[in-house]
């Protein structure tokens, strides 16, 4: 088995997903099975290959350096941005107290 329960607990913590002991027990063999299966990529000789960075060659564009170049993604939309927040106060996202 390529990854054990403790490793799954570690990556679950890195992923910010709380997992019960039971879930870790189920997930460890499943993830191991998948990782064992993808190991076959090691057979491929890639010594002279550059990793793909763009599937279709394209140049990166810059938008015009003006305010509200596109009204859909421009500024002055605070209320729209906050409309779906689970908690918003005084025009900000609200979260539990972080600093004691």
């Amino acid at each position: 088995m390529s990854i054990d329960r403790a490793t799954v607990a570690k990556i679950a913590s890195l992923s910010r997903i709380k997992m019960s002991d039971e879930e870790l027990d189920t997930m460890a063999p499943e993830l191991s099975q998948i990782l064992d299966w993808v190991e076959q990529l090691g057979e491929v000789d890639t010594s002279n290959v550059e990793p793909m960075t763009a599937v279709i060659p394209n140049k990166l564009r810059l938008r015009d350096d003006v305010v509200d170049a596109d009204p859909k993604t421009g500024g002055d939309r605070r209320d729209d941005v906050l409309a779906n927040a689970p908690a918003a106060e005084h025009g900000f996202f609200a979260v539990p107290k972080v600093i004691e």
Binding site: I3, S15, K18, L41, V44, V55, L60, P96, K97, V98
Partner: protein, 494 residues
């Protein structure tokens, strides 16, 4: 009078334009079909009023003699991965339940601008992760198709665009949007006897589409036939400055240039797709496909895509890696679910929210993605997968020296019963073994129905083309459609 809900995009658009019927009559017909099909669970939310108001706008335009648009009067289903202003958008997840966007995705806006209306938001695999539509928080979608054995086993409509495939196949919508990351348009189209096109990466804007794996995600049409797909793709596609990977090139008149004559064209048959233990009926359908394309004037040539075997494992590193990064945004702060136990701090809130909000398959992929990107493993997994991806793309580049189009099966089998593959993640992933290589290379590809198997379940054939050659793909698809004579429909039981 014809039952308007048997009609496809072209027939509806042309009929409305000619005054044979009104757009409102069409919308009312499909709204009624949607309401009567709850047993299929194809829709997460129905939006009959959206469909009616779009139809009324088209009828009013016609009365004034104005242009009605490429999709004028056609109501469609919208996969619930596209943000729709004022209408709940969930990606079939609990974590986005109740999320009501303040904006419209580019693709859906393009469709409304072309005169289409919305029948509702279609169910899918959660965050588009799945090949059977069994990972939705809102329940499985059931295919309208059944085996003729009398057992009435609920069958999979494929995934992730399973609500879309079911809606079109069961005539709940004349067409629907889909998205394809590693086969999510083509595989469900094949399972339900409909036609679906994944265009070249960048043809359709990803802006406002809930992200799964950004280097692979592409939107495309799912409809009754090739002509309808050509019309709808034309309405969906186009340059969008809001998507950095959007193709800045004109959208061709795909519908106008459709032709099923393939003289002078070479069709490649990749030998690596003929796998050990291949389903004999799939192999036979592939052979029939070759005959049909030969009959259309094409020359059939053998080709080799040597890295085919490694495409699927590479995909299952790259897609989860991108997903783990994309799905980091669901934190219980800005939108969607927040799970905040009494006295919990910020970190606990993240972990509790994500534990409650994501389904098992989504968690599995986030964990795999986090693992392969973590310190010490990045080169061995992610970088190696991106190198293999480059080799898969090179295989296609070399093949284009010998052929213009590639023909292959869409899937390794016909549809299966819901629950039959639940305990086998890799067995489920293998559904996309023929679909994933074109996704990794960003190439246009489609599935077109070619017949039914001995159980009466539909089979699809896949066509893959050069980058930007959607026309060649759809022309070859049309050649098959015109020769396959696929007229079977699922018998109505819902």
């Amino acid at each position: 009078m014809t039952d308007l809900t048997t009609l496809g995009i072209k027939a509806i658009r042309d009929g409305v334009k000619a005054g044979d019927f009104t757009a409102r009559e069409v919308a009312e017909g499909f709204n009624a079909n949607v309401a009567a099909a709850e047993a299929l669970n194809a829709f997460i939310v129905a939006t009959p009023d959206h469909a009616l108001s779009a139809a009324d706008a088209i009828d009013a335009k016609r009365a004034k003699g104005e242009e009605l648009g490429a999709m004028g009067g056609v109501p469609i289903g919208m996969k619930d991965l596209f943000a729709t202003k004022g209408v709940q958008t969930t990606a079939a997840s609990h974590i986005l339940e109740g999320f009501t966007p303040e904006y419209e995705s580019t693709v859906s806006q393009n469709l409304w601008d072309a005169g289409a209306g919305m029948l509702g938001k279609l169910n899918l695999d959660q965050f588009a992760m799945g090949s059977s539509n069994e990972t939705s928080y809102f329940g499985n979608v059931t295919s309208p198709w059944r085996r003729p054995d009398g057992a009435n086993t609920p069958m999979s409509p494929g995934g992730s665009s399973g609500g879309s495939s079911t809606a079109v196949s069961a005539r709940l919508a004349p067409a629907a949007t889909g998205t394809d990351t590693g086969g999510s348009i083509r595989q469900p189209a094949a399972f339900t006897g409909i036609t679906g096109v994944k265009p070249t990466y960048g043809r359709c804007s990803r802006w406002g589409v809930v992200a799964f794996a950004s280097s692979l995600d592409q939107a495309g049409p799912m409809a009754q036939d090739v002509t309808d797909c050509a019309i709808m793709l034309g309405a969906m596609a186009g340059f969008d400055p809001k998507d950095t990977t959007s193709l800045d090139m004109p959208v061709p008149d795909w519908e106008g240039a459709l032709s099923d004559g393939l003289s002078g064209k070479k069709v490649g048959i990749p030998r690596e797709y003929r796998m050990d233990g291949m389903d004999a009926e799939i192999e036979a359908s592939w052979d029939r496909g070759k005959e049909m394309l030969r009959d259309a004037g094409a020359e059939i040539v053998d080709i080799s895509l040597p890295h085919t075997k490694y495409a699927l494992p590479a995909y299952y590193i790259i897609a989860p890696a991108e997903a783990s990064s994309n799905l980091a945004r669901y934190d219980g702060v800005r939108y969607g679910l927040r799970d905040l136990p009494d006295g919990a701090g910020l970190q606990d809130m993240y972990a509790e929210t994500r534990a409650a909000g994501f389904g098992d398959e989504v968690k599995r992929r986030i964990l795999i993605g986090t693992y392969v990107l973590s310190a010490g493993f990045y080169d061995a997994y992610y970088n190696q997968a991106q190198k293999v991806r480059a080799l898969v793309a090179q295989d296609f580049e070399k093949a284009w020296a010998q052929c213009d189009i590639i023909l292959a099966p869409t899937t390794p089998s016909a549809s299966f019963g819901l629950g039959e593959k639940d305990d086998d993640p890799i067995g489920m992933y293998l559904n996309d073994v023929f679909a994933v290589p074109a996704s990794l290379a960003g190439l246009p590809a489609m599935s077109v129905p070619c017949g039914v198997n001995s159980e009466g379940l539909p089979l699809g054939l896949q066509l893959v083309g050069k980058a930007f050659d959607e026309q060649g793909v759809m022309n070859a698809g049309l050649a098959i459609e015109n020769r396959a004579g696929f007229t079977q429909r699922a018998e109505k039981w819902w």
